[in-house]
């Protein structure tokens, strides 16, 4: 059974031209690492927050978000607290913004335990020190007394992870956990997350803009565009044989680290903002395979296709070889 099961979730904000999320389907099982990949405005962060019942203020919701069978859409404060303190936890992009600058690290870590769990100070402190050691910080007792500005970004992200582990969660949501960090630190944080997942049999949802990072560290990948999931497949499958033109375009956008250098074949145009809407396939305006008449209707929501699922009218024709050999000198615009 899935830890997290998002079923046809739509989130609409009044005043926006299109839904922020449009019939999202996503599952994460225990012990599994799942990536959610997308560019700015794709809705990936909104999706992750929805898994904690954090919806945008004033939004209209449809569908279900189940975390261990608790539906978070319309849940009351007590149920939300139950999920947030004991079942699921989140790690955010910028640890420096995410930790109150005026409180000590120890205070930040023990806050939930003491306020919600009713732990004594000594017991909570001991637990916090234990967690800091578990995330690989060298001197837990000292760190407990430090202020956030006295630590580096990489150390703070470890503190953030320790805080997330406080309630022994089974689901860990990581929203761009390494984007604010240097590459070598990124590897350390991912190594830590991987170790914790194995040790604690966590379900891990990694939200990232970096499709290479997703492919390198996850079992399954969901690709989002303009509020919809356009493709999902196992990491190997997606990397080797992308089915959706957008996925293929993303893969073709980063210069390779080795092998022959050919001209990049980027996706033309810019990601869709929340002020734009599309009647048909949202990606059609940027898609070099879009066909008038076929792509001006909304594509099916994630139809089974090969080993994964894809939302594209032309998925049947665009077999991997076509997408893999995107014309090398196609124009940028």
């Amino acid at each position: 059974m899935a830890l997290l099961d998002i079923d046809a979730l739509s989130v609409t904000l009044p005043g926006m031209a299109r839904p922020i999320l449009d019939r999202i389907e996503l599952t994460v099982a225990a012990g599994e690492t799942v990536a959610l990949v997308g560019e700015s405005g794709s809705g990936k962060s909104v999706t992750a927050r929805a898994a904690l019942g954090l919806f945008p203020a004033g939004a209209d919701l449809a569908g279900r978000v189940r975390v261990e069978d608790i539906d978070l859409v319309g849940a009351d404060a007590a149920r939300l607290r139950e999920v947030r303190t004991g079942i699921a936890a989140m790690i955010f992009q910028d640890p420096r913004a995410g930790i109150s600058p005026v409180r000590r690290i120890g205070d930040f870590l023990t806050e939930a335990l003491r306020l919600v769990g009713g732990w004594s100070r000594a017991r909570a402190d001991a637990r916090a020190a234990e967690l800091l050691a578990a995330v690989g910080l060298p001197d837990p007792e000292r760190h407990l007394r430090q202020f956030p500005h006295e630590m580096s970004g990489g150390m703070l992200q470890r503190v953030m992870i320790a805080a997330a582990l406080c309630g022994e969660p089974r689901l860990l949501l990581c929203d761009e956990p390494t984007t604010a960090l240097d590459v070598a630190t990124q590897a350390e944080i991912l190594a830590l997350l991987g170790r914790l997942r194995r040790e604690r049999d966590l379900g891990l949802l990694l939200i990232t803009h970096d499709i290479e990072l997703a492919a390198a560290s996850c079992d399954r990948i969901y690709v989002m565009y303009a509020g919809r999931i356009v493709e999902t497949a196992t990491a190997d499958e997606l990397f080797a044989r992308p089915r959706h033109p957008y996925t293929a375009g993303l893969l073709g956008s980063s210069p390779p680290q080795e092998g022959p250098l050919t001209r990049l074949a980027p996706i033309p145009g810019a990601p869709m903002s929340l002020l734009e809407s599309a009647t048909g396939c949202a990606f059609a305006p940027r898609c070099r395979f879009a066909e008038p008449g076929r792509c001006d209707q909304a594509p099916p929501v994630l139809e089974p296709h090969g080993a994964g699922r894809v939302a594209c009218h032309r998925a049947d024709e665009l077999e991997p070889p076509v997408l893999a050999h995107l014309a090398p000198d196609s124009e940028d615009r």
């Binding site: 560019e39 590459v183 990124q186 590897a187 190594a191 970096d210 250098l261 810019a270 990601p271 940028d332």
Partner: protein, 292 residues
């Protein structure tokens, strides 16, 4: 549309020797850049690679005259770059030598001015007096970066991040500099847009023969655009070689770590974390790293 390229007489486009910069902090001096030397031939492209705090942005700012080096010399086409620039002619000459494209597309353009007006101001400053000639040149510059008349009439807030970065590139090209410094110029952009701008830069390099210094944390991007790469670690030069060699056979453990850190299928972050712990601490002074 071509830059003022001197004939190949062997004089490097830019020659930097013994560059050093320190900052004073509450607790003492921090070395941002130490003994940095490199040279770049006409039409060459160099990638300055490093993590945050490596000194790469400080270096870029020194090349532009935005920071004054404590020691060392910067020569452009055989002429030393004056440390203090006084007078209009000296300022314009310096501007002709080096131009810059900044990281943040949202803050690097004057929000009050349309893109056309921004370009117009640069051209006027650099002596294009005839309005018709200026407007023709603006059209050329915009076409060169893939923008059109609609963008010319628009202020930055009406443009996407990629369009703004194109406009910033056009603004730098308007001066017709010999060298273009790009400080993480694509890292704030969406992946798909980043690729567009990389292609644009490659085209500009090919078409104009302009020299590029590309400051980046991303070795793959540097490989795509540059001939050589110089890896900086805490202000010190770790390795400086042709970019192909650097990627296939990195000599320095730090370069190896950076390379291994790039995610790819079959990647083992645990191994990288171990590698990083075993990395010998650089001999650089300080210890406190300046935030860039």
């Amino acid at each position: 549309m071509t830059t003022d390229v001197t004939p190949h007489d062997g004089t490097p486009l830019i020659e930097v020797s013994g560059l050093r910069k320190t900052y004073r902090t509450g607790t003492g001096e921090v070395v941002a850049v130490e003994d940095l030397s490199f040279s770049l031939p006409v039409g060459g492209a160099l990638g300055l690679v490093g993590e945050s705090g490596s000194g790469k942005t400080t270096t870029a700012r020194m090349l532009l005259g935005l920071e004054r080096p404590d020691a060392g010399r910067i020569m452009v086409r055989g002429t030393p770059l004056a440390e203090t620039v006084r007078g209009r002619a000296a300022r314009l000459a310096r501007a002709k030598a080096v131009q810059m494209v900044f990281q943040d597309p949202y803050l690097s353009l004057d929000g009050r001015l349309s893109i056309g007006a921004t370009l117009d101001g640069v051209l006027r400053l650099h002596g294009v007096r005839d309005p018709a000639a200026r407007s023709a040149r603006i059209g050329e510059l915009l076409a060169q970066v893939g923008l059109g008349p609609r963008e010319a009439a628009t202020r930055p807030r009406g443009l996407s991040g990629g369009q703004r970065q194109r406009a910033a590139i056009a603004r730098a090209l308007a001066v017709e500099p010999a060298l273009l410094v790009l400080d993480e110029a694509v890292s704030a952009l969406d992946v798909s847009v980043q690729a567009q701008v990389l292609n644009l830069l490659a085209d500009i390099r090919r078409d104009t023969g302009i020299g590029l210094i590309f400051v980046s944390h991303d070795l793959a991007v540097v490989r795509y655009l540059c001939d050589e790469a110089l890896v900086l670690h805490r202000g010190r030069t770790v390795e400086h070689r042709p970019v192909g060699d650097l990627l296939t056979a990195p000599a320095d453990p730090y370069t190896r770590l950076l390379l291994a850190s790039i995610p790819r299928p079959g990647w083992d972050p645990e191994h990288i974390a171990r590698q990083r712990r075993e990395l010998p601490a650089p001999a650089a002074a300080g210890g406190v790293v300046p935030s860039e």
